[in-house]
Amino acid sequence: MAGCRFYAGYPITPATEIMEIMARKLPEVGGVFIQMEDEIASLGAVIGASLAGSKSMTATSGPGFSLMQEHIGYASMAEVPCVIVDVMRAGPSTGLPTQPSQSDVMQARWGTHGDHPIIVLAPSSVYEFFELTVQAFNLSERYRTPVILLVDEVVAHMREGVILPARDGLKIEDRLHPTVPPEWYIPYADPGTGVPPMPAFGDGYRYHVTGLYHDVRGYPTVRTDEVEPLIHRLFTKISEDYDRLQWFDSFETEDARVTIIAYGCVARAALQAVQKAREKGLKVGLIKLKVLWPFMRRTITGILDNSEKVLVPELNIGQISREVKRVNQSRCEVATLNKVDGTPIKPAEILQKLEEIYP
Protein backbone atom coordinates (compact mmCIF):
# COMPACT_ATOMS: atom_id res chain seq x y z
CA MET A 1 0.00 0.00 0.00
CA ALA A 2 3.00 2.28 0.53
CA GLY A 3 3.83 1.78 -3.15
CA CYS A 4 6.78 -0.57 -2.72
CA ARG A 5 7.38 -2.44 -5.98
CA PHE A 6 10.88 -3.83 -5.48
CA TYR A 7 12.36 -6.05 -2.82
CA ALA A 8 15.85 -7.56 -2.74
CA GLY A 9 16.97 -9.53 0.28
CA TYR A 10 18.89 -12.35 1.87
CA PRO A 11 17.45 -14.81 4.40
CA ILE A 12 18.23 -14.04 8.04
CA THR A 13 16.52 -14.82 11.33
CA PRO A 14 14.37 -13.12 12.63
CA ALA A 15 13.54 -11.09 9.50
CA THR A 16 13.10 -13.83 6.88
CA GLU A 17 9.28 -13.79 6.96
CA ILE A 18 9.25 -10.30 5.47
CA MET A 19 11.20 -11.62 2.50
CA GLU A 20 9.00 -14.69 2.11
CA ILE A 21 5.82 -12.61 2.09
CA MET A 22 7.30 -10.17 -0.44
CA ALA A 23 8.34 -13.10 -2.66
CA ARG A 24 4.68 -14.16 -2.72
CA LYS A 25 2.99 -10.76 -2.88
CA LEU A 26 5.12 -8.63 -5.19
CA PRO A 27 4.53 -10.64 -8.40
CA GLU A 28 0.78 -10.31 -7.73
CA VAL A 29 0.99 -6.52 -8.00
CA GLY A 30 3.50 -6.38 -10.85
CA GLY A 31 6.44 -5.77 -8.54
CA VAL A 32 9.89 -7.35 -8.52
CA PHE A 33 11.28 -9.69 -5.90
CA ILE A 34 14.80 -11.03 -5.99
CA GLN A 35 16.89 -13.02 -3.54
CA MET A 36 20.47 -11.78 -3.71
CA GLU A 37 23.78 -13.40 -2.78
CA ASP A 38 24.26 -11.34 0.40
CA GLU A 39 23.03 -8.22 2.16
CA ILE A 40 25.52 -5.91 0.47
CA ALA A 41 24.12 -7.03 -2.88
CA SER A 42 20.55 -6.74 -1.59
CA LEU A 43 20.84 -3.07 -0.75
CA GLY A 44 22.84 -2.47 -3.95
CA ALA A 45 19.97 -3.89 -6.01
CA VAL A 46 17.45 -1.88 -3.96
CA ILE A 47 19.34 1.35 -4.68
CA GLY A 48 19.62 0.43 -8.38
CA ALA A 49 15.87 -0.22 -8.60
CA SER A 50 15.14 3.07 -6.85
CA LEU A 51 17.32 4.92 -9.37
CA ALA A 52 15.29 3.21 -12.09
CA GLY A 53 12.12 4.63 -10.51
CA SER A 54 10.78 1.88 -8.20
CA LYS A 55 10.01 2.35 -4.52
CA SER A 56 12.29 -0.26 -3.02
CA MET A 57 13.07 -1.96 0.26
CA THR A 58 14.97 -4.73 2.01
CA ALA A 59 14.87 -6.34 5.46
CA THR A 60 17.55 -7.91 7.61
CA SER A 61 18.91 -8.44 11.12
CA GLY A 62 22.14 -7.52 12.93
CA PRO A 63 24.86 -9.30 10.90
CA GLY A 64 23.14 -8.42 7.63
CA PHE A 65 22.58 -4.87 8.85
CA SER A 66 26.33 -4.62 9.43
CA LEU A 67 26.94 -5.64 5.81
CA MET A 68 24.41 -3.09 4.56
CA GLN A 69 26.16 -0.16 6.19
CA GLU A 70 28.33 0.41 3.11
CA HIS A 71 25.30 1.01 0.93
CA ILE A 72 23.35 2.95 3.55
CA GLY A 73 26.16 5.48 3.26
CA TYR A 74 25.93 5.34 -0.53
CA ALA A 75 22.17 5.95 -0.53
CA SER A 76 22.67 8.81 1.89
CA MET A 77 25.40 10.44 -0.21
CA ALA A 78 23.77 9.86 -3.61
CA GLU A 79 20.34 10.72 -2.14
CA VAL A 80 18.53 7.59 -3.27
CA PRO A 81 15.22 6.84 -1.49
CA CYS A 82 15.04 3.35 0.06
CA VAL A 83 13.66 1.60 3.14
CA ILE A 84 15.64 -0.85 5.30
CA VAL A 85 14.00 -2.95 8.00
CA ASP A 86 16.32 -4.15 10.76
CA VAL A 87 14.71 -6.74 13.02
CA MET A 88 17.13 -6.48 15.90
CA ARG A 89 18.77 -9.45 17.59
CA ALA A 90 21.27 -9.22 20.43
CA GLY A 91 24.82 -8.80 19.20
CA PRO A 92 27.68 -8.41 18.67
CA SER A 93 28.38 -10.89 15.87
CA THR A 94 25.94 -13.78 15.39
CA GLY A 95 24.71 -13.09 18.90
CA LEU A 96 21.21 -14.29 19.78
CA PRO A 97 19.44 -14.78 16.44
CA THR A 98 16.01 -15.67 17.82
CA GLN A 99 15.76 -13.41 20.87
CA PRO A 100 14.50 -9.82 21.12
CA SER A 101 16.90 -6.94 21.52
CA GLN A 102 17.15 -3.20 20.92
CA SER A 103 20.89 -3.07 20.58
CA ASP A 104 21.17 -1.60 17.06
CA VAL A 105 19.94 1.89 17.98
CA MET A 106 23.40 3.44 17.69
CA GLN A 107 24.37 1.35 14.68
CA ALA A 108 21.27 2.60 12.89
CA ARG A 109 22.44 6.14 13.61
CA TRP A 110 26.18 5.87 13.05
CA GLY A 111 26.79 2.46 11.45
CA THR A 112 28.08 3.70 8.12
CA HIS A 113 31.26 5.75 8.04
CA GLY A 114 31.31 9.51 7.79
CA ASP A 115 28.91 12.26 8.83
CA HIS A 116 25.48 11.55 7.45
CA PRO A 117 21.84 12.18 8.27
CA ILE A 118 19.46 9.28 8.84
CA ILE A 119 15.82 8.74 9.74
CA VAL A 120 15.02 5.81 12.03
CA LEU A 121 11.48 4.80 13.02
CA ALA A 122 10.55 2.31 15.76
CA PRO A 123 7.09 0.66 15.85
CA SER A 124 5.69 -1.02 18.96
CA SER A 125 2.62 -2.79 17.57
CA VAL A 126 1.45 -4.48 14.40
CA TYR A 127 -0.62 -1.45 13.42
CA GLU A 128 2.26 0.92 14.08
CA PHE A 129 4.52 -1.32 12.00
CA PHE A 130 2.08 -0.89 9.13
CA GLU A 131 1.68 2.84 9.72
CA LEU A 132 5.40 3.52 10.07
CA THR A 133 6.26 1.42 7.01
CA VAL A 134 4.01 3.68 4.93
CA GLN A 135 5.64 6.69 6.61
CA ALA A 136 9.12 5.26 6.02
CA PHE A 137 8.46 5.20 2.28
CA ASN A 138 6.92 8.67 2.40
CA LEU A 139 9.88 10.14 4.26
CA SER A 140 12.44 8.41 2.05
CA GLU A 141 10.72 9.82 -1.03
CA ARG A 142 10.20 13.28 0.47
CA TYR A 143 13.80 13.73 1.63
CA ARG A 144 15.57 11.38 -0.83
CA THR A 145 17.23 9.50 1.98
CA PRO A 146 17.46 5.95 3.33
CA VAL A 147 14.94 5.36 6.13
CA ILE A 148 15.45 2.58 8.65
CA LEU A 149 12.63 0.76 10.41
CA LEU A 150 14.15 -0.51 13.64
CA VAL A 151 12.07 -3.31 15.10
CA ASP A 152 12.62 -5.83 17.87
CA GLU A 153 11.86 -9.51 17.41
CA VAL A 154 8.74 -9.31 19.66
CA VAL A 155 7.01 -6.68 17.53
CA ALA A 156 8.23 -8.25 14.27
CA HIS A 157 6.73 -11.66 15.08
CA MET A 158 3.65 -10.33 16.86
CA ARG A 159 0.17 -11.27 15.71
CA GLU A 160 -2.67 -9.01 16.77
CA GLY A 161 -5.89 -7.73 15.26
CA VAL A 162 -5.60 -4.54 13.23
CA ILE A 163 -7.99 -2.47 11.18
CA LEU A 164 -6.13 -1.17 8.16
CA PRO A 165 -7.19 2.18 6.70
CA ALA A 166 -8.79 2.35 3.28
CA ARG A 167 -6.28 2.63 0.46
CA ASP A 168 -7.48 6.08 -0.62
CA GLY A 169 -7.43 7.26 3.00
CA LEU A 170 -3.64 6.86 3.06
CA LYS A 171 -1.40 9.74 2.15
CA ILE A 172 1.28 8.40 -0.19
CA GLU A 173 4.18 10.64 -1.15
CA ASP A 174 6.30 10.29 -4.27
CA ARG A 175 9.67 11.83 -5.07
CA LEU A 176 9.52 15.09 -6.99
CA HIS A 177 10.14 14.69 -10.68
CA PRO A 178 11.93 17.52 -12.52
CA THR A 179 9.59 19.80 -14.44
CA VAL A 180 12.30 21.46 -16.53
CA PRO A 181 13.43 20.02 -19.88
CA PRO A 182 16.45 17.66 -19.64
CA GLU A 183 18.94 20.21 -20.97
CA TRP A 184 18.10 22.54 -18.06
CA TYR A 185 18.17 19.86 -15.40
CA ILE A 186 20.90 20.22 -12.77
CA PRO A 187 20.60 17.03 -10.71
CA TYR A 188 21.94 18.15 -7.34
CA ALA A 189 21.02 21.84 -7.32
CA ASP A 190 19.08 22.90 -4.23
CA PRO A 191 15.60 24.02 -5.29
CA GLY A 192 15.18 25.81 -1.93
CA THR A 193 13.82 22.87 0.04
CA GLY A 194 17.19 21.10 0.10
CA VAL A 195 15.73 18.16 -1.84
CA PRO A 196 16.47 18.19 -5.60
CA PRO A 197 13.89 16.64 -7.97
CA MET A 198 14.81 13.14 -9.10
CA PRO A 199 14.07 11.57 -12.50
CA ALA A 200 14.35 7.82 -13.13
CA PHE A 201 17.10 6.41 -15.33
CA GLY A 202 15.61 6.17 -18.81
CA ASP A 203 13.35 9.24 -18.43
CA GLY A 204 15.59 11.27 -20.72
CA TYR A 205 17.39 13.14 -17.95
CA ARG A 206 20.85 11.69 -18.30
CA TYR A 207 22.88 12.44 -15.21
CA HIS A 208 25.72 11.07 -13.11
CA VAL A 209 25.34 9.42 -9.71
CA THR A 210 28.35 8.81 -7.45
CA GLY A 211 29.27 8.12 -3.84
CA LEU A 212 32.08 10.65 -4.12
CA TYR A 213 31.56 14.21 -3.00
CA HIS A 214 30.03 15.84 -6.05
CA ASP A 215 29.09 19.22 -7.44
CA VAL A 216 25.53 20.23 -8.37
CA ARG A 217 25.89 18.33 -11.66
CA GLY A 218 26.78 15.15 -9.80
CA TYR A 219 30.41 15.17 -10.94
CA PRO A 220 33.18 14.32 -8.45
CA THR A 221 34.77 17.31 -6.76
CA VAL A 222 37.29 18.17 -4.06
CA ARG A 223 36.58 21.89 -4.17
CA THR A 224 36.02 23.18 -0.65
CA ASP A 225 33.22 25.46 -1.84
CA GLU A 226 31.37 22.46 -3.25
CA VAL A 227 32.15 19.78 -0.65
CA GLU A 228 30.96 21.62 2.45
CA PRO A 229 27.67 22.92 1.03
CA LEU A 230 26.80 19.35 -0.01
CA ILE A 231 27.28 17.78 3.41
CA HIS A 232 25.43 20.68 5.04
CA ARG A 233 22.53 20.33 2.63
CA LEU A 234 22.31 16.58 3.33
CA PHE A 235 21.78 17.43 7.00
CA THR A 236 19.61 20.52 6.72
CA LYS A 237 17.15 19.03 4.23
CA ILE A 238 15.99 16.86 7.14
CA SER A 239 16.77 19.05 10.15
CA GLU A 240 14.84 22.03 8.74
CA ASP A 241 11.76 19.84 8.82
CA TYR A 242 12.52 18.73 12.37
CA ASP A 243 9.10 19.83 13.67
CA ARG A 244 7.39 17.41 11.32
CA LEU A 245 9.35 14.48 12.77
CA GLN A 246 8.20 14.63 16.41
CA TRP A 247 6.19 11.42 16.45
CA PHE A 248 5.35 10.02 19.87
CA ASP A 249 2.43 8.89 22.00
CA SER A 250 2.09 10.08 25.56
CA PHE A 251 0.15 8.42 28.35
CA GLU A 252 -0.65 10.07 31.68
CA THR A 253 2.25 12.50 31.39
CA GLU A 254 0.43 15.71 32.47
CA ASP A 255 0.91 15.27 36.21
CA ALA A 256 3.62 12.61 36.12
CA ARG A 257 6.43 12.90 38.67
CA VAL A 258 8.26 10.03 36.96
CA THR A 259 8.05 9.63 33.18
CA ILE A 260 9.13 6.55 31.30
CA ILE A 261 10.75 7.03 27.89
CA ALA A 262 10.46 3.84 25.86
CA TYR A 263 10.06 2.41 22.36
CA GLY A 264 9.34 -0.90 20.66
CA CYS A 265 8.13 -3.86 22.70
CA VAL A 266 9.44 -2.27 25.89
CA ALA A 267 6.92 0.57 25.48
CA ARG A 268 4.12 -2.03 25.65
CA ALA A 269 5.41 -3.38 28.95
CA ALA A 270 5.92 0.18 30.16
CA LEU A 271 2.30 1.08 29.42
CA GLN A 272 1.08 -1.81 31.55
CA ALA A 273 3.48 -0.81 34.30
CA VAL A 274 2.13 2.77 34.21
CA GLN A 275 -1.46 1.53 34.48
CA LYS A 276 -0.56 -0.70 37.46
CA ALA A 277 1.38 2.11 39.12
CA ARG A 278 -1.53 4.53 38.67
CA GLU A 279 -3.80 1.97 40.38
CA LYS A 280 -1.36 2.11 43.28
CA GLY A 281 -1.57 5.91 43.29
CA LEU A 282 1.86 6.62 41.78
CA LYS A 283 1.92 9.60 39.45
CA VAL A 284 3.83 8.14 36.53
CA GLY A 285 3.54 8.54 32.77
CA LEU A 286 4.97 7.23 29.52
CA ILE A 287 6.33 8.74 26.35
CA LYS A 288 6.51 6.21 23.54
CA LEU A 289 8.99 7.22 20.86
CA LYS A 290 8.12 6.42 17.24
CA VAL A 291 11.04 8.35 15.77
CA LEU A 292 14.46 7.48 17.21
CA TRP A 293 16.61 9.50 14.79
CA PRO A 294 16.78 12.43 14.37
CA PHE A 295 16.50 12.34 18.15
CA MET A 296 13.37 14.21 19.34
CA ARG A 297 15.28 16.66 21.48
CA ARG A 298 12.41 19.14 21.74
CA THR A 299 9.88 16.57 22.93
CA ILE A 300 12.32 14.99 25.37
CA THR A 301 13.38 18.38 26.76
CA GLY A 302 9.74 19.11 27.59
CA ILE A 303 9.49 15.81 29.49
CA LEU A 304 12.74 16.41 31.35
CA ASP A 305 11.56 19.89 32.38
CA ASN A 306 8.28 18.64 33.76
CA SER A 307 9.32 15.44 35.53
CA GLU A 308 11.26 14.90 38.69
CA LYS A 309 12.74 11.71 37.32
CA VAL A 310 12.69 9.82 34.04
CA LEU A 311 13.18 6.11 33.54
CA VAL A 312 14.56 4.72 30.27
CA PRO A 313 14.04 0.95 30.06
CA GLU A 314 15.78 -0.70 27.09
CA LEU A 315 16.81 -4.10 25.77
CA ASN A 316 20.43 -3.02 25.50
CA ILE A 317 23.24 -1.75 27.67
CA GLY A 318 21.93 1.82 27.43
CA GLN A 319 21.68 3.45 23.99
CA ILE A 320 18.68 5.82 23.90
CA SER A 321 19.33 6.58 27.58
CA ARG A 322 22.70 8.04 26.54
CA GLU A 323 20.87 10.46 24.27
CA VAL A 324 18.37 11.29 27.00
CA LYS A 325 21.25 12.01 29.40
CA ARG A 326 22.96 14.15 26.76
CA VAL A 327 19.82 16.24 26.31
CA ASN A 328 19.08 16.26 30.04
CA GLN A 329 21.84 18.69 31.10
CA SER A 330 21.04 18.22 34.82
CA ARG A 331 17.35 18.97 34.42
CA CYS A 332 16.27 15.89 36.33
CA GLU A 333 17.44 12.44 37.37
CA VAL A 334 17.68 9.87 34.58
CA ALA A 335 17.31 6.25 35.72
CA THR A 336 17.85 3.28 33.43
CA LEU A 337 16.62 -0.30 33.32
CA ASN A 338 18.68 -2.43 30.97
CA LYS A 339 18.10 -6.04 30.16
CA VAL A 340 20.50 -7.95 27.91
CA ASP A 341 19.75 -11.60 28.67
CA GLY A 342 17.72 -12.20 25.53
CA THR A 343 14.29 -11.93 27.13
CA PRO A 344 11.83 -9.01 26.99
CA ILE A 345 11.43 -6.61 29.90
CA LYS A 346 8.28 -7.53 31.85
CA PRO A 347 5.75 -4.96 33.13
CA ALA A 348 6.46 -6.17 36.69
CA GLU A 349 10.16 -5.37 36.31
CA ILE A 350 9.38 -1.83 35.20
CA LEU A 351 6.83 -1.43 37.99
CA GLN A 352 9.37 -2.58 40.56
CA LYS A 353 11.92 -0.11 39.25
CA LEU A 354 9.29 2.68 39.32
CA GLU A 355 8.51 1.95 42.95
CA GLU A 356 12.22 1.92 43.73
CA ILE A 357 12.93 5.33 42.26
CA TYR A 358 9.58 7.02 42.96
CA PRO A 359 10.31 10.25 44.82
Partner: protein, 275 residues
Protein backbone atom coordinates in the same frame (compact mmCIF):
# COMPACT_ATOMS: atom_id res chain seq x y z
CA UNK B 1 40.66 9.82 -37.94
CA UNK B 2 39.05 13.23 -37.66
CA UNK B 3 35.63 11.63 -38.16
CA UNK B 4 36.27 9.12 -35.39
CA UNK B 5 37.33 11.79 -32.95
CA UNK B 6 34.30 13.87 -33.81
CA UNK B 7 32.00 10.93 -33.21
CA UNK B 8 33.48 10.28 -29.79
CA UNK B 9 33.02 13.93 -28.86
CA UNK B 10 29.29 13.56 -29.45
CA UNK B 11 29.22 11.16 -26.54
CA UNK B 12 31.48 12.99 -24.09
CA UNK B 13 30.17 15.33 -21.42
CA UNK B 14 31.52 18.72 -22.24
CA UNK B 15 30.80 20.35 -18.88
CA UNK B 16 33.77 20.60 -16.54
CA UNK B 17 35.03 17.02 -16.54
CA UNK B 18 38.18 17.16 -18.62
CA UNK B 19 41.08 16.50 -18.61
CA UNK B 20 40.34 12.94 -17.44
CA UNK B 21 42.19 11.37 -14.54
CA UNK B 22 43.88 8.50 -16.42
CA UNK B 23 47.66 8.42 -16.81
CA UNK B 24 49.18 9.00 -20.24
CA UNK B 25 49.40 5.65 -22.00
CA UNK B 26 46.56 4.03 -20.01
CA UNK B 27 44.42 1.53 -21.91
CA UNK B 28 41.06 2.56 -20.44
CA UNK B 29 40.59 5.39 -22.93
CA UNK B 30 41.03 2.98 -25.84
CA UNK B 31 38.27 0.82 -24.41
CA UNK B 32 36.05 3.87 -23.83
CA UNK B 33 36.40 4.95 -27.45
CA UNK B 34 35.68 1.42 -28.67
CA UNK B 35 32.56 1.24 -26.49
CA UNK B 36 31.31 4.57 -27.80
CA UNK B 37 31.89 3.57 -31.43
CA UNK B 38 29.96 0.34 -30.96
CA UNK B 39 27.08 2.07 -29.18
CA UNK B 40 26.96 4.65 -31.96
CA UNK B 41 26.42 1.81 -34.45
CA UNK B 42 23.82 0.10 -32.25
CA UNK B 43 20.06 0.64 -32.00
CA UNK B 44 20.35 2.12 -28.51
CA UNK B 45 19.85 5.80 -27.83
CA UNK B 46 21.81 7.60 -25.11
CA UNK B 47 18.68 7.58 -22.92
CA UNK B 48 18.38 3.77 -23.13
CA UNK B 49 21.84 3.11 -21.77
CA UNK B 50 22.81 2.86 -18.12
CA UNK B 51 26.57 2.66 -17.67
CA UNK B 52 27.63 1.45 -14.23
CA UNK B 53 31.08 1.17 -12.69
CA UNK B 54 32.68 0.16 -9.40
CA UNK B 55 35.73 1.80 -7.83
CA UNK B 56 39.21 2.25 -9.22
CA UNK B 57 40.63 3.73 -12.42
CA UNK B 58 37.91 2.03 -14.49
CA UNK B 59 35.32 3.36 -12.02
CA UNK B 60 35.87 6.86 -13.33
CA UNK B 61 34.84 5.99 -16.89
CA UNK B 62 31.07 6.67 -16.68
CA UNK B 63 31.43 10.28 -15.55
CA UNK B 64 32.92 11.25 -18.92
CA UNK B 65 30.18 9.87 -21.14
CA UNK B 66 26.70 11.17 -21.78
CA UNK B 67 24.50 8.24 -20.71
CA UNK B 68 22.62 7.49 -17.52
CA UNK B 69 25.74 6.90 -15.45
CA UNK B 70 26.30 5.39 -12.03
CA UNK B 71 29.58 5.20 -10.12
CA UNK B 72 28.88 2.70 -7.34
CA UNK B 73 30.87 1.16 -4.48
CA UNK B 74 33.95 -1.05 -4.75
CA UNK B 75 33.08 -4.37 -6.37
CA UNK B 76 29.32 -3.88 -6.26
CA UNK B 77 28.49 -2.50 -9.73
CA UNK B 78 26.70 -5.71 -10.71
CA UNK B 79 24.32 -5.53 -7.73
CA UNK B 80 23.10 -2.06 -8.73
CA UNK B 81 22.94 -3.24 -12.35
CA UNK B 82 20.71 -6.16 -11.34
CA UNK B 83 18.27 -3.85 -9.56
CA UNK B 84 18.12 -1.42 -12.48
CA UNK B 85 17.57 -4.10 -15.14
CA UNK B 86 14.81 -5.78 -13.14
CA UNK B 87 13.07 -2.51 -12.27
CA UNK B 88 13.14 -1.35 -15.90
CA UNK B 89 13.94 -4.16 -18.38
CA UNK B 90 13.73 -1.66 -21.26
CA UNK B 91 17.10 -0.17 -20.25
CA UNK B 92 20.37 -1.48 -21.71
CA UNK B 93 22.57 -2.09 -18.69
CA UNK B 94 26.36 -2.07 -19.07
CA UNK B 95 28.96 -2.43 -16.33
CA UNK B 96 32.63 -1.53 -16.46
CA UNK B 97 34.84 -2.96 -13.74
CA UNK B 98 38.49 -3.47 -12.97
CA UNK B 99 40.21 -6.76 -12.14
CA UNK B 100 40.47 -6.16 -8.39
CA UNK B 101 37.03 -4.56 -8.41
CA UNK B 102 35.19 -7.39 -10.17
CA UNK B 103 37.17 -10.44 -9.10
CA UNK B 104 38.49 -9.72 -5.58
CA UNK B 105 36.06 -7.56 -3.62
CA UNK B 106 33.27 -8.15 -6.14
CA UNK B 107 33.95 -11.84 -6.76
CA UNK B 108 30.80 -13.01 -5.02
CA UNK B 109 28.59 -10.62 -6.97
CA UNK B 110 30.35 -11.58 -10.20
CA UNK B 111 29.77 -15.33 -9.96
CA UNK B 112 26.14 -14.88 -8.91
CA UNK B 113 25.38 -12.35 -11.64
CA UNK B 114 26.80 -14.86 -14.15
CA UNK B 115 24.77 -17.69 -12.63
CA UNK B 116 21.55 -15.69 -12.39
CA UNK B 117 21.85 -14.53 -16.00
CA UNK B 118 20.19 -11.13 -15.79
CA UNK B 119 20.90 -9.32 -19.07
CA UNK B 120 23.97 -7.25 -18.22
CA UNK B 121 26.86 -6.61 -20.59
CA UNK B 122 29.92 -6.51 -18.35
CA UNK B 123 33.43 -5.46 -19.25
CA UNK B 124 36.38 -6.15 -17.01
CA UNK B 125 39.41 -3.99 -17.67
CA UNK B 126 42.23 -6.24 -16.56
CA UNK B 127 45.49 -4.40 -16.01
CA UNK B 128 46.81 -6.95 -13.47
CA UNK B 129 47.14 -4.42 -10.68
CA UNK B 130 45.40 -2.04 -8.27
CA UNK B 131 46.35 1.11 -10.13
CA UNK B 132 44.53 3.89 -8.32
CA UNK B 133 45.89 2.92 -4.90
CA UNK B 134 49.45 2.72 -6.16
CA UNK B 135 50.27 -0.67 -7.65
CA UNK B 136 49.34 -3.41 -5.19
CA UNK B 137 48.80 -7.05 -6.21
CA UNK B 138 45.40 -7.93 -7.63
CA UNK B 139 43.92 -11.39 -8.22
CA UNK B 140 45.30 -11.25 -11.77
CA UNK B 141 48.85 -10.17 -10.87
CA UNK B 142 51.24 -12.83 -12.19
CA UNK B 143 52.86 -15.22 -9.69
CA UNK B 144 56.24 -13.96 -8.59
CA UNK B 145 55.69 -10.32 -9.63
CA UNK B 146 57.08 -7.64 -7.33
CA UNK B 147 54.34 -5.16 -6.41
CA UNK B 148 53.78 -2.48 -3.80
CA UNK B 149 52.07 -5.03 -1.55
CA UNK B 150 54.31 -7.97 -2.51
CA UNK B 151 57.81 -6.49 -2.19
CA UNK B 152 59.31 -10.00 -2.01
CA UNK B 153 57.28 -11.35 -4.93
CA UNK B 154 53.62 -12.32 -5.31
CA UNK B 155 53.02 -15.76 -3.75
CA UNK B 156 49.52 -16.16 -5.17
CA UNK B 157 48.61 -17.66 -8.52
CA UNK B 158 46.56 -15.45 -10.84
CA UNK B 159 42.91 -15.87 -11.71
CA UNK B 160 41.71 -16.67 -15.23
CA UNK B 161 38.69 -14.35 -15.35
CA UNK B 162 37.18 -15.95 -18.45
CA UNK B 163 37.28 -19.47 -17.04
CA UNK B 164 35.69 -18.16 -13.87
CA UNK B 165 32.89 -16.50 -15.88
CA UNK B 166 32.36 -19.65 -17.92
CA UNK B 167 32.19 -21.90 -14.87
CA UNK B 168 29.75 -19.52 -13.16
CA UNK B 169 27.41 -19.68 -16.15
CA UNK B 170 27.95 -16.55 -18.26
CA UNK B 171 26.34 -17.03 -21.68
CA UNK B 172 28.94 -14.98 -23.53
CA UNK B 173 32.60 -14.91 -22.54
CA UNK B 174 35.32 -13.32 -24.63
CA UNK B 175 38.73 -11.71 -24.34
CA UNK B 176 40.57 -9.03 -26.22
CA UNK B 177 43.43 -6.68 -25.55
CA UNK B 178 43.26 -2.94 -26.12
CA UNK B 179 45.90 -3.44 -28.84
CA UNK B 180 43.41 -5.47 -30.91
CA UNK B 181 40.87 -2.68 -31.29
CA UNK B 182 38.95 -4.20 -34.21
CA UNK B 183 38.47 -7.44 -32.32
CA UNK B 184 37.60 -5.46 -29.19
CA UNK B 185 34.83 -3.58 -31.00
CA UNK B 186 33.46 -6.78 -32.49
CA UNK B 187 33.36 -8.44 -29.05
CA UNK B 188 31.73 -5.42 -27.42
CA UNK B 189 29.06 -5.51 -30.12
CA UNK B 190 28.41 -9.22 -29.57
CA UNK B 191 28.24 -8.74 -25.81
CA UNK B 192 25.69 -5.92 -26.14
CA UNK B 193 23.52 -8.14 -28.38
CA UNK B 194 23.43 -11.02 -25.93
CA UNK B 195 20.17 -11.53 -24.01
CA UNK B 196 21.87 -12.64 -20.85
CA UNK B 197 24.95 -12.07 -18.72
CA UNK B 198 27.91 -11.43 -21.00
CA UNK B 199 31.49 -10.72 -19.99
CA UNK B 200 34.40 -9.44 -22.04
CA UNK B 201 37.81 -9.38 -20.40
CA UNK B 202 39.72 -6.43 -21.80
CA UNK B 203 43.44 -6.89 -21.25
CA UNK B 204 44.79 -3.41 -20.75
CA UNK B 205 48.04 -1.80 -19.69
CA UNK B 206 48.84 0.08 -16.53
CA UNK B 207 52.08 1.71 -17.57
CA UNK B 208 52.48 3.51 -14.26
CA UNK B 209 52.39 0.45 -12.00
CA UNK B 210 52.07 -2.91 -13.80
CA UNK B 211 54.67 -1.78 -16.35
CA UNK B 212 57.23 -1.82 -13.57
CA UNK B 213 56.77 -5.40 -12.46
CA UNK B 214 56.29 -6.67 -15.99
CA UNK B 215 59.54 -4.85 -16.80
CA UNK B 216 57.95 -3.03 -19.72
CA UNK B 217 59.04 0.56 -19.75
CA UNK B 218 56.53 2.35 -21.98
CA UNK B 219 52.94 2.11 -23.19
CA UNK B 220 54.24 1.21 -26.63
CA UNK B 221 56.28 -1.68 -25.20
CA UNK B 222 53.28 -2.87 -23.22
CA UNK B 223 51.01 -2.84 -26.24
CA UNK B 224 53.65 -4.63 -28.28
CA UNK B 225 53.76 -7.20 -25.52
CA UNK B 226 49.98 -7.60 -25.85
CA UNK B 227 50.38 -8.08 -29.59
CA UNK B 228 53.27 -10.55 -29.35
CA UNK B 229 51.72 -12.67 -26.61
CA UNK B 230 48.17 -12.95 -27.93
CA UNK B 231 46.90 -15.97 -29.81
CA UNK B 232 43.45 -16.31 -31.28
CA UNK B 233 41.04 -18.92 -29.99
CA UNK B 234 41.37 -20.78 -33.28
CA UNK B 235 45.15 -20.90 -33.11
CA UNK B 236 45.12 -21.80 -29.44
CA UNK B 237 43.28 -25.04 -30.22
CA UNK B 238 46.40 -26.29 -32.01
CA UNK B 239 48.75 -25.42 -29.17
CA UNK B 240 49.61 -27.47 -26.10
CA UNK B 241 48.96 -26.21 -22.55
CA UNK B 242 52.69 -25.62 -22.11
CA UNK B 243 52.83 -23.50 -25.25
CA UNK B 244 49.80 -21.50 -24.03
CA UNK B 245 51.12 -20.95 -20.51
CA UNK B 246 52.27 -17.37 -21.03
CA UNK B 247 49.82 -16.49 -23.80
CA UNK B 248 46.68 -14.34 -23.90
CA UNK B 249 43.96 -16.25 -25.74
CA UNK B 250 41.75 -13.74 -27.53
CA UNK B 251 38.38 -14.08 -29.23
CA UNK B 252 35.02 -15.60 -28.33
CA UNK B 253 35.48 -18.30 -25.69
CA UNK B 254 31.85 -19.06 -24.83
CA UNK B 255 28.65 -18.26 -26.72
CA UNK B 256 25.63 -20.22 -25.55
CA UNK B 257 21.95 -19.84 -24.71
CA UNK B 258 20.30 -20.18 -21.32
CA UNK B 259 17.01 -18.77 -19.98
CA UNK B 260 17.68 -15.35 -18.51
CA UNK B 261 16.30 -14.15 -15.21
CA UNK B 262 14.41 -11.03 -16.15
CA UNK B 263 12.52 -12.60 -19.06
CA UNK B 264 11.47 -15.48 -16.81
CA UNK B 265 10.38 -12.92 -14.26
CA UNK B 266 8.39 -10.97 -16.87
CA UNK B 267 6.67 -14.23 -17.82
CA UNK B 268 5.81 -14.80 -14.17
CA UNK B 269 4.32 -11.30 -13.98
CA UNK B 270 2.24 -11.85 -17.11
CA UNK B 271 0.96 -15.12 -15.68
CA UNK B 272 0.11 -13.48 -12.34
CA UNK B 273 -1.68 -10.56 -14.00
CA UNK B 274 -3.99 -12.99 -15.84
CA UNK B 275 -5.13 -14.63 -12.58
Amino acid sequence: MRETAHLVHDYLRSSKRFPHIWCAGCGIGIFMQALIRVIDQSEYSKDDIVLISGIGCSGRLPVYVDFNTLHTTHGRALTFATGIKLANPRLKVITVMGDGDAIAIGGNHFIHAARRNVEIASFILNNNVYGMTGGQSSPTTPHGAITASAPYGNLEPDFDICRLAEAAGAVFVARSTVYHTNLLERLIGMALQKKGFSMVEVVSQCTTHAGRFLELKSPVEMMKWQKDNSVTVEKAKQLSDAELAEKIVIGVLVDRERPNYHEQYQNLLTEKSKV
